[in-house]
């Protein structure tokens, strides 16, 4: 049976850095995807993922093993993303939107169109408030439940559901605006 996150964190705190590397293996993909969703750039997401794990490792003494490890590390990740504040300016967004929409010739392949729409969705995510982006990233990239998201962001469960619903609605509205 594999040791739990909490046990690995305890072992890492007592000097076993290999135990921490197991935690890295477990969480690096989702942390990277959450960072990518929030920052919109692969290089920034990679740097931030490294930063999150480093910060986690050095703050292990402050981790309370009575609480779930995932909520602690995701909270650090979200806070790091919010600190980086790589939100693009309105003019930069316009350029990105134009680039995403500028298809001189309509693509014959359906999946290419889908990729373009996805790129557009990612760009539009940049227009959402940071809190909404965090919720979307935790829901769709980390694939967490509403309960877990509420625990990480320290919000009531109902607020998480409402914000996610409204965030999707804003995205749909933005997508419609761009199509007009």
């Amino acid at each position: 049976m594999e040791p739990s996150d909490e046990i690995l964190a305890q072992r890492a705190l007592s000097g076993d850095s290999d135990a921490f590397m197991i935690l890295v293996e477990r969480y690096q993909n989702t942390i990277f995807h959450v960072a990518l969703r929030m920052l919109g750039d692969s290089h920034d997401a990679e740097d931030l993922t490294q930063e999150v794990f480093l910060r986690c490792y050095q703050s292990l003494g402050r981790y309370d093993p009575a609480r779930p490890f995932f909520s602690w590390i995701y909270r650090i990740a979200v806070n790091c993303c919010l600190t980086v504040r790589k939100r693009p300016t309105a003019s930069a967004l316009d350029e990105q939107l134009v680039a995403a929409l500028a298809t001189e010739e309509p693509s014959p392949e359906q999946h290419v169109m889908r990729d373009e729409t996805q790129a557009l969705v990612q760009t539009l995510l940049g227009l959402l408030p940071e809190q909404d982006r965090s919720i979307i990233a935790l829901r769709y990239d980390a694939e967490l439940s509403y309960d877990q998201i509420a625990q990480i962001l320290r919000l009531p469960l109902g607020t998480v559901k409402t914000r996610l619903f409204r965030a999707r609605q804003r995205l749909a509205d933005l997508l419609k605006d761009q199509a007009l």
Binding site: A12, L13, G15, S17, F20, M21, V24, E25, Q28, N29, F32, H33, L36, R37, S42, E46, T49, Q50, F53, L54, Y57, Q58, S59, L60, G61, R62, D64, A66, R114, T117, Q118, V121, Q122, I136, Y140, D141, Y146, K161, T162, F165, R168, Q169, L171, A172, L175
Partner: protein
Amino acid sequence: MNHPFELLQAAFDNELSASELIILQQHLQNCESCRALLAEQHNIHALLMQSKSQLVPASLNRAIEQRIRQARAPKARSGWRVQALFLLICSVFSWFYWPELLSLAQTIGTASEALIVWIFSTTSGLTSAQLDSAISFEAQGHLVLVVGLCVILLACILVLQQEVHNSHR
């Protein structure tokens, strides 16, 4: 027309009761905007689900490992503030109540000594009188005091540990 956003949200999350479902279905039959809103929610949901396709860079794990190996090892929180406060309280208490503390130590020490003598006599086969004669009267007095103070100190350490543990939460 009032749009039942809470019901729409619950419908999207499959959390509607049977009666709520009927209410929403009736509303949706007559409300094009709510039908569109629900369809948009599913559309955006699908797009968000599909867009998590980017592969994680192969170098990421190695880069993290390198930084972790170079970093200083994490340290457990010392909880020094709690310890310092506790020591201060103990010092003040001892200053004002030293005679009472010694008396308490004497009582605890006597009880502990009786227990130790009983353990020694049952394990070594010596009688308590033989054990008493092996230690001088003066030494016994000191021993009682030392044992008593040790027990009080041990109790303090246990309380302190509990405080430090609680401060981590």
